[in-house]
């Protein structure tokens, strides 16, 4: 389908704005659409494992790849066409290693060489998309990710505090361009807004566009806030489109139970409603299309520049 990978960092200077959830949801959606996807979790908390349902990692392999250039351990086939480099507590050691070896005038390999060597299993083709989830409070890890990425997506919530995170990431982004001049802001994604609050979304989007000063778009798709769906997904390691699928299957099972007069055991029931889950899955699907479309537009623009 495509011979060229794009590396996209998901970052914000503030925690709790949906970076990990967005990374998992986008990765799952793009992989389900037939693209080969690699997700890299650079967060020492390693929460991506909950979203994707592969459990927890120690981040040791990723840490050693960054500091010593060792090969990365990859969890293959987390979903069809979706591989993961897990994060974990060992990544806390990366910043001290950079500081101490930097003080001695030594250089470290960083993230990019290890990523460039990685290929999907069983095919000569490369990954189409590499998504990197970043921790909010680790400047060195964020800078390493920015040095290895082509694009940046900033998830943000609708509250004032999220703006502070945007300022932090803007400064970090500008500094990173001295190391990686190709880094481009792909867009800002509004995350965790209550469904149906159209006026709020319009106002926040307008404020964000003003803040960005035309440097990048605010994606027109926002990801809705659904606590019950979030609990269902994280407790079962499901992605939004998988939760929607389970709801569809669950619906027919419940009808059958009613027909047969079997008593309903509500202990293991899903907390979310099927319409909510379908709406959430639709958000991610729309956002994935916007992100891929935006990458294509940016690439086309780059080609024109090269041709000129």
């Amino acid at each position: 389908m495509c011979d060229m990978r794009r590396v996209v960092a998901i970052a914000n200077g503030k925690g709790g704005v949906g970076k990990t959830t967005l990374t998992a949801g986008l990765a799952g959606q793009v992989a389900a659409a037939g693209h080969r996807v690699l997700v890299v979790d650079t967060d020492p908390q390693g929460n991506l494992g909950r979203d994707l349902g592969y459990g927890s990692g120690d981040g040791n392999s990723l840490g050693l790849a960054i500091t010593h250039g060792l090969p990365l351990d990859v969890i293959r086939g987390v979903r069809e066409r979706l591989d993961v480099v897990p994060g974990g507590p060992s990544l806390w050691d990366v910043a001290p290693a950079f500081t101490s070896r930097g003080a001695r005038g030594q250089t470290l390999p960083g993230l990019r060489p290890a990523l460039e060597r990685l290929r999907p299993a069983g095919t000569d083709a490369d990954y189409d998309l590499v998504l990197i989830d970043t921790p909010p409070g680790e400047p060195i890890l964020q800078d390493l990710v920015f040095a290895s990425s082509d694009y940046l997506i900033i998830p943000t919530r609708s509250d004032e505090a999220s703006l502070d995170g945007l300022v932090v990431v803007a400064q970090r982004f500008a500094a990173a361009r001295a190391v990686n001049p190709d880094l481009t802001l792909l867009g800002v994604a509004l995350f965790g807004v209550r469904a149906g609050s159209t006026r709020l979304i319009t106002r926040v989007r307008s404020a964000l566009q003003e803040t960005l000063g035309g440097a990048a778009p605010v994606f027109s798709t926002s990801i809705r806030y659904l606590e019950s769906a979030a609990v269902d997904m994280r407790s079962r390691g499901l992605l939004p489109h998988e939760l929607a699928q389970i709801h569809r299957e669950d619906k027919s099972q419940r009808i059958n139970r009613l027909r047969q007069g079997v008593k309903v055991d509500t202990g293991d029931a899903l907390l979310s409603r099927d319409s909510s889950a379908a709406g959430l899955a639709g958000d991610y699907s729309d956002l994935a299309r916007e992100v891929l479309g935006s990458i294509r537009t940016r690439d086309d623009a780059a080609r024109v520049e090269v041709a000129v």
Binding site: D3, G102, R289
Partner: protein, 119 residues
């Protein structure tokens, strides 16, 4: 995010405003490897970007959040659940009542028998 005083970050993102800090890893990264085949390169303008059409294939049938306010299956489940609970309670009550009558009837008969058989 709806306040009046907002910073304009456009310059930082498009490179026209310099950062007020230096990247924490500047000068600490080793030399970059030669790009592996297929990695992004401005000199390779013929490669196609990921297409968006396939993403559309997996687009869920989007249901309006508000349209699903009442879940008919849930209503049926609640209705049959309540009906079942009422029937269960009714059965318990009637069986309990029957038990009382049977017990008292047996005692009454036993009493009569004991009177009859008294010497």
């Amino acid at each position: 995010m709806t306040g009046n005083a907002r910073p304009n970050l456009g310059g930082l993102f498009n490179g026209s405003t310099p950062a007020d800090r230096v990247s924490s890893i500047a000068g600490r990264l080793g030399p970059r490897l030669v790009s592996a085949p297929g990695t992004p390169s401005a000199e390779n303008p013929t490669i196609e970007a990921p297409t968006v059409e396939q993403a559309a294939d997996v687009t869920q049938q989007r249901t309006d959040h508000r349209a699903g306010w009442i879940d008919p299956i849930r209503v049926l489940e609640l209705y049959f659940g309540a009906l079942q609970a009422a029937l269960d309670a009714n059965r318990e009550f009637v069986m309990g009542l029957a038990g009382v009558f049977v017990t008292r009837g047996t005692r009454f008969r036993d009493g009569l028998d004991s009177i009859r058989t008294r010497p």
